[in-house]
Symmetry: C2
C-alpha cells in the first residue's frame, strides 16, 4: 500500500536550512506532520506553518507512521534513529524511516539492519539541489533500500522533489549522493576559477555567466552560485562544513575501490583552507575567496 | 548596415568537425558561400551542399564580403588571414573577417590591427557547444571587436548559434572562450571521477547520470559526455589535442594576472597523460581512460 495524507502521519527531525522547507512542503501537501529540532526557533516557525511539535525523536515516532530525518552527520542520524530516546524505541512495526541527510553507505546498512529487527523499513534518500531545490520542491532524491519500502514512500518523497530515482539496495542512495558531491565540489572550483580569471581579464561577470551557461561550460553551479559570487553573497545555500563532511565520506568510498580522485582532492584541500581562514559557516561558493586571497584580487561583477 | 543573404557573400575557411556543419547552416540560411579547406574531401561534401570551392584563402576572399575562419591554432589563423596567399591580400575595404577558432587575445589584436590598416573589420568570435552545437546551430558564440562590426555581422552569426554575446573590444571573445575552457576541462574531469567512483560502487551508470543531472551536480558535460563514456564512445566531439592547445593559452592568460588555476592545471596534466598514452585524436571524454588505467578498472554502464 502506498502512503497518502489520509492514512499516513509523518514525523520530521532536523529543521535546518533545507529540512525546514521540506517539512513545509509535506504540510502543504496535506500530511499531518510532527517535527523535532534541537533549536526551538525553527520549531516555532513550523508550528506557525501547521506542524505539531515533539520534545524528542521518541515522542515524535510514537505519533508517526513514517519518520524522516534531515540532520547533519552520521553520529546525529545514529542518535536520533537508534539512540536511547531515538525513533527505534517507539516507531511501530510496519513503519518506515527515511534518512535524507548525507552520510555513508555503511551507516545506512547499520541502521537498516537494526530497524529490520523491529519490522521497520528504511530508506537512505539523500538529496541534491541546495536551499533553492528544497524551497521549490525540485530536489533530486537518490534512494536506496528495499524496493517495496521505496514504492510505499514514493508519494511522500514526491512532495519534496522532482527527480526521484531508485538506485538499488540499502546504501545505494548514499553512494549516489557521495558521487554527486564529487561533481558538485569540482564544479564549485570550476566556477570560481572561471570567474576569477575572466573578471581579471576585464570581462563582465554577468555576460560571462550568460554565454558560458549557453554552451558546453554550463553547470548548475555556474548558473546558480556564479551570480552569488558576483554579488559577493557568500551566505550558505550549502555550508562549507557540510561539503567537507561529505567529502570525508567520498574519500573513504574512493579508498575502498582505489579510485584516484584528482579534482575532488584539490577541491577538498581548498575547502580545508577556506575553513582555516573563515570557518565552515559560509556557502560552498566561498571557495572563490581562497583563490582571491592567493591572487590578491577580488572577483568583480564588471571591470 | 547589417548583412543579409541578398547583399552578402561569405567565404568559409576550415571545414573540420565543426566548421563543416557551420558552413552548411550558412548555405541553408540562403547565403552564397565559398569554402576552402586543406583536405579536399570536406570540400566535395560542401560542394554537394551548395558551396562554391576556392583554391586558396586569397581566391576565396576576392569573392567574399565576409570571411569566416574555423581553423585550428593561431599559426593557422595568421597564415590564412595575414599570410602571403591570405585573406588580407584580396578582401576589399569595408569587408570583415570573423575568426571563430580558439586562440589567444594577443593574436586577435595582431590580426585586427593589420586588417584595420586596409579598412577591413575584425571579430574574434570563438564558439562553445561542440560538434552537437555546431550540427544543431545552437552554439554559444562569444564575440570581441568593434561594436559596429558586431552589429553588421550578427545576422550571419545567428545562423550558427543561439546564445551570441558581445563581450567587448578585440580579444574579449578569445578571453571569454579561454575562461569557457577552464570550466569545460574541469567539468570533464568531474564527469569521469563521478562515473568511475559510482560504477565501482555498483551503481547503474544511466540512473546515476539521470539523478545527478536532476540536481546541483548537473553540467552540460555530464549530460552530454557522460552517456558517451558509458557506451565507451571516445570519438571526438571535441579533440583532446584541441583542449590541450586551448589550455596552453588559458595558462598564459592566467600567468598574466597571477590567477591560481588548481582544477584547470590538474585537468591539463591528465590530458597530457592521455596524449602520452593514446595521442590527441580522441574526444576529451577519454580523460576517463587515464583514471581507469590508474584504477585498473573500467567504467561499466551497469554493475
Amino acid at each position: 500500500m502506498t502512503t497518502s495524507p489520509e492514512n499516513t502521519k509523518i514525523g520530521f527531525i532536523g529543521l535546518g536550512l533545507m529540512g525546514k522547507s521540506m517539512a513545509k512542503h509535506l504540510i502543504q501537501s496535506g500530511y499531518s506532520v510532527t517535527v523535532f529540532n534541537r533549536s526551538k526557533k525553527s520549531m516555532e516557525e513550523l508550528r506557525s506553518a501547521g506542524a505539531k511539535l515533539a520534545d524528542a525523536p521518541e515522542g515524535l515516532a510514537s505519533a508517526s507512521d513514517i519518520v524522516i530525518d534531515m540532520v547533519t552527520d552520521a553520529p546525529d542520524v545514529l542518535e536520533v534513529i537508534l539512540g536511547k530516546e531515538g525513533v527505534i524505541a517507539t516507531l511501530k512495526s510496519g513503519g518506515a524511516v527515511i534518512d535524507m541527510s548525507t552520510n555513508s553507505p555503511d551507516t545506512s546498512m547499520q541502521i537498516a539492519s537494526k530497524l529490520a529487527e523491529k519490522g521497520i523499513g528504511f530508506l537512505d534518500a539523500p538529496v541534491s539541489g541546495g536551499d533553492k531545490g528544497a524551497r521549490e520542491a525540485t530536489l533530486a532524491i537518490m534512494v536506496g533500500g528495499e524496493k517495496v519500502t521505496f514504492e510505499k514512500c514514493l508519494p511522500v518523497l514526491k512532495c519534496m522533489g522532482r527527480e526521484i530515482v531508485y538506485m538499488g539496495g540499502t546504501g545505494s542512495g548514499q553512494a549516489t549522493k557521495l558521487v554527486n558531491q564529487v561533481a558538485v565540489s569540482i564544479h564549485t572550483l570550476a566556477t570560481s576559477e572561471a570567474l576569477l580569471l575572466g573578471t581579471a581579464a576585464g570581462l563582465n561577470g554577468k555576460d560571462l555567466i550568460r554565454v558560458l551557461t549557453g554552451g558546453a561550460a554550463n553547470s548548475w553551479n555556474l548558473a546558480n552560485l556564479g551570480p552569488r559570487i558576483l554579488q559577493r553573497d557568500f551566505e550558505p545555500g550549502f555550508k562549507v562544513a557540510h561539503i567537507q563532511k561529505d567529502l570525508k565520506y567520498v574519500i573513504r568510498l574512493a579508498e575502498k575501490y582505489n579510485i584516484p580522485l584528482f579534482g575532488t582532492s584539490v577541491a577538498y584541500q581548498l575547502f580545508g583552507a577556506l575553513v582555516a581562514d573563515h570557518g565552515g559557516e559560509k556557502g560552498t561558493q566561498a571557495i572563490a575567496q581562497v583563490l582571491e586571497s592567493l591572487a590578491k584580487r577580488e572577483i568583480k561583477s564588471s571591470s
